[in-house]
């Protein structure tokens, strides 16, 4: 049973455009939703995270939008740059349990 479904698998965006990655979860008890960024040959690194008591969180060019009723959350990358090219993972957890990850989205930002 896949607890966090992530889409799309891959994404190509023009430089300066908006990248959007979506995730849906099943367990309504989840209460923490992070996004991780991974560059080739490196481990994933925490990018931004949100809790379900807010609908949006913004950090620089990165924004998480959260829809509790739809059990969905998404990552928006504004003004996408070639340096943003990486694999992005959404994840979810509830207290006392390990993170459950989506399958990842490979983002390519082309000039």
């Amino acid at each position: 049973q896949q607890q966090v479904k992530q889409s799309p698998q891959s994404l190509i965006v023009q430089k300066g455009g908006i990248s959007i990655i979506n995730c849906a979860y099943e367990n309504t008890a989840f209460d923490y939703f992070p996004w991780y960024q991974q560059f080739p040959g490196k481990g994933p690194a925490l990018l931004i995270a949100i809790r379900p008591d807010v609908s949006e969180k913004k950090e620089g060019r990165f924004t998480i939008s959260f829809n509790k009723s739809a059990k969905q959350f998404s990552l928006h990358i504004m003004d996408s740059q070639p340096g943003d090219s990486a694999t992005y993972f959404c994840a979810a957890t509830l207290i006392g349990t390990p993170l459950v990850f989506g399958k990842g989205t490979r983002l390519s930002v082309i000039a």
Binding site: Q6, G43, P44, A45, A49, T97, V100, K103, G104
Partner: protein, 112 residues
């Protein structure tokens, strides 16, 4: 990655041999995790630890065992390696068992 190191970084081993991967942290974090990463599957939890000698199974624990005799070290053992265990293995640490994980740089394991 600062505070967490994995060894070896690369390993090629033969089918049927035991293999041990090591994760070492200098952060004194209570929680440690082993994930494997495979194309199309993302990151899947193998085992995790919530303290010395306290471990639990994850989603894909069959064929793997772990040990944690010291806070700083978390060992993953493939008891008899199979080709299906060819993967990139990541260790992660966490202060509170939730929130931001810090990942190591990974071990690329090839079973031939």
């Amino acid at each position: 990655d600062a505070g967490i190191t994995q060894s070896p970084r690369h390993k090629v081993t033969e089918t049927g041999t035991p293999v041990t991967l090591r994760c070492h942290q200098t952060e004194n974090h209570r929680y440690m995790y082993w994930y494997r990463q495979d194309p199309g599957h993302g990151l899947r939890l193998i085992h995790y630890s919530y303290g010395v000698k306290d471990t639990d199974k994850g989603e894909v624990s069959d064929g793997y065992s772990v040990s944690r005799s010291k806070t700083e070290d978390f060992l993953l053992t493939l008891e008899s390696a199979t080709s299906s265990q060819t993967s990139v293995y990541f260790c992660a640490i966490s202060v509170q068992g939730r929130g931001g994980y810090t990942f190591g740089s990974g071990t690329r394991l090839t079973v031939v």
